[in-house]
């Protein structure tokens, strides 16, 4: 562990299961790990973290105004995630704290997961696997047909790194790609829809890849689902709160939409139990990012941002604070 007193002090908060960066960070910086104490966090921070200029957060820890108030020297917040809806950005801006995220670290894996969920829903993969393991194939023979993936019209909500990676993969399936995002992107070769309702009306599948903000909260509501229609499928690899979950459950149970592949939910790990009996739904425990490859990428970009910061070089993945 780096011990020299001029080695920068970096505060680290992560759940015990996500300790994959501990070693590499300790090799490069003086790490103050919130894990080392059983004191309530505010006390721990007041006692030990007042000189920390950088704070690394892994996992879903809410960086609130209160937490920030215990970190008077803080200048850099490094998020080990792509999403930063758990950070009080306004307060960071007010305090002059720069925020970085994990940029593309997860994009391959999340995009793979989105496409995997899409194929799994349309072609009924988990349902087919259950059909065999339960002995039903030998007993009943016939398994209900699925729906063709190739050539489907897919509307992507949010065209950042993840959205564009999803589009690239789906091109291999000759899917017709269109998108909606805050503004049209001139370099993107796909059709742009200026609002989510028309995106839903003109597509067979909606893939949600945008960040969660005040504007996108419950952006997929009943009206959007009715527009998508009874054969339409929703794939969510963004954030649970992008969808009005209660309405979605009703729409699935009543056949207002055709199916869903969901990696995220409004109140994880709670998942509406009405979904458990549905065959046209594939559920995943927010594991879109969970491969060693992604974790290695996160460690790499976290380290790079910290090194850049402490040597006064430009950060690799700063987040826009307004």
């Amino acid at each position: 562990m780096a011990g020299a007193s001029d080695t920068p002090l970096v505060l680290l908060h992560r759940p015990p299961s996500l300790d994959f960066m501990d070693e590499i960070l300790s090799r490069n910086f003086r790490i103050l790990n919130t894990d080392t104490s059983s004191e309530p966090l505010p006390i721990f921070l007041s006692r030990h973290a007042s000189s920390a200029r950088a704070f690394v957060v892994v996992g879903r820890f809410f960086v609130t105004a209160e937490i920030l108030s215990y970190l008077p020297s803080l200048q850099l917040l490094v998020c080990g995630s792509v999403g930063f809806d758990h950070v009080d950005l306004a307060e960071c801006k007010r305090r002059g704290v720069v925020v970085t995220n994990a940029r593309n670290a997860f994009s391959d894996d999340v995009a793979d997961c989105a496409v995997g969920l899409l194929i799994s829903v349309l072609r009924r993969i988990p349902a087919g696997d259950r059909f065999i393991r339960s002995g039903d194939w030998e007993k009943y023979g016939e398994f209900r047909l699925g729906s063709k993936v190739s050539g489907k019209r897919v509307g992507i909500l949010g065209f950042g790194s993840i959205g564009s990676f999803v589009a690239k993969r789906l091109e291999g399936f000759d899917c017709v790609i269109s998108y909606n995002s805050r503004s049209e992107k001139p370099s993107v070769p796909y059709r742009y829809y200026s609002d989510i309702l028309s995106l839903a009306a003109n597509n067979d599948v909606l893939v949600l890849c945008c960040s969660l903000t005040e504007q996108t909260h419950h952006i997929v509501n009943r009206e959007v689902m009715e527009s998508l229609g009874k054969d339409g499928v929703i794939i969510n690899v963004g954030r649970g709160k992008l969808i009005d979950e209660k309405e979605m459950v009703k729409c699935l149970v009543d056949g207002v939409i055709g199916g869903a592949g969901l990696d995220v939910f409004e109140n994880e790990p709670a998942v509406p139990e009405e979904l458990f009996g549905l065959e046209n739904v594939v559920l995943s425990p927010h594991s879109g990012v969970a491969t060693q490859g992604s974790l290695d990428n996160v460690a790499e970009i976290t380290l790079a941002n910290l090194k850049a910061f402490f040597s006064n070089r430009p950060l690799l993945s700063p987040v826009q604070l307004d």
């Binding site: 969920l117 072609r123 993969i125 065999i132 993936v149 559920l283 995943s284």
Partner: protein, 313 residues
């Protein structure tokens, strides 16, 4: 044409049954308890057989049907049809190429992701309430992994195209090198398996390709490699596969086909590094209808003296 007897070997599509019934005298082989009596009764009126991947026209059936003129298969695979005897007797054979290529390739990619990312396991994890007790474990990344394809025909090529979009380097084995192809050729299946993370079976089933994935190939693929079978069950030595998986010598397998469908070795049911599907490679409403249209179209063409749409023999 209503008097022309068309023998359908097993249930495969109610849409197809309806369309055949409108045009011909459709005889449903599976509804008769006494098969030999049935054939005796109808032997002089049956001029066409419609088969699929489960049941086709073997030597015995062909010999029992003296008026047989055409076998129209509801599949692209021809392994259930005795092509040699058909050629000798001048019996025409048609299949359903192209219309199912995309579905099978889509499913192959779906199986790869479902296996590597444990999507079926994840779905079970959430439905059983286990997520409340803790996060699911790490799984294996797909993007960038090397994909080795046995057989680079229509389906193999479509699989390669899709895998390329995931930045996967593509390797292949086939009987001869394909000169205009940018993928890496391996002269043996063992070499292909040694040099690929994911091995996909996509060639036709013949005497030469039976058990083409044997113990040696599975050992070459190894405990980090995975096997994807969207071809035919007999492509893989199933007994050896079960041993390789239960002993941890093979990393995982995703199978849409089995040696004796619908029977699946029960030792596989408890494994989480396995994905099992009930032969649904072409199993979409859109594709099964397109296949049915081809079967009907071929029969209509034959019985009105026109050129067959998709002849094999």
């Amino acid at each position: 044409m209503e008097s022309i007897g068309v023998l359908m070997m097993c249930p495969m599509s109610s849409y197809l049954e309806n369309e055949l019934q409108k045009r011909f005298n459709l005889l449903r082989f599976w509804t008769s308890p006494e098969k030999s009596v049935f054939l005796e009764t109808h032997r002089n009126s049956i001029r066409a057989v419609v088969g699929n991947a489960f049941a086709g026209a073997d030597a015995q059936l062909i010999n029992d049907l003296p008026k047989l003129e055409i076998v129209s298969s509801f599949s692209v695979g021809l392994d259930k049809i005795d092509l040699g005897i058909c050629k000798d007797k001048g019996i025409r054979v048609t299949n359903t190429p192209d219309v199912l290529t995309e579905d099978v390739a889509d499913l192959a990619i779906g199986l790869i992701i479902a296996l590597l990312r444990r999507l079926c396991e994840c779905d079970r994890y959430v439905r059983s309430g286990k997520w409340k007790q803790g996060d699911f474990k790490l799984t294996t990344k797909f993007s960038g992994k090397s994909v080795g394809i046995i057989g680079l025909g229509r389906i193999g090529t479509a699989i390669a195209k899709r895998a390329e979009a995931f930045s996967c380097p593509i390797n292949y084995y086939s009987r001869t090198v394909k000169p205009d192809v940018a993928y890496k050729y391996y002269p043996t299946v063992v070499d292909l398996a040694k040099n690929s993370d994911i091995l996909v079976v996509a060639c036709p089933l013949s005497d030469e390709t039976r058990h083409i994935v044997n113990r040696q190939v599975m050992d070459a693929l190894g405990p980090k490699g995975v096997l994807i079978n969207i071809g035919r069950g007999p492509h893989v030595d199933e007994q050896e596969l079960v041993k390789a998986l239960t002993e941890g010598r093979l990393g995982g397998a995703a199978l849409d086909v089995f040696e004796k469908e619908p029977h699946v070795p029960e030792e596989l049911f408890g494994l989480e590094n396995v994905v099992l599907l009930p032969h649904v490679g072409s199993g979409t409403v859109e594709t099964r209808n397109a296949m049915a249209d081809l079967v009907v179209g071929n029969l209509e063409a034959h019985f009105s003296g026109k050129s067959l749409l998709t002849p094999v023999v």
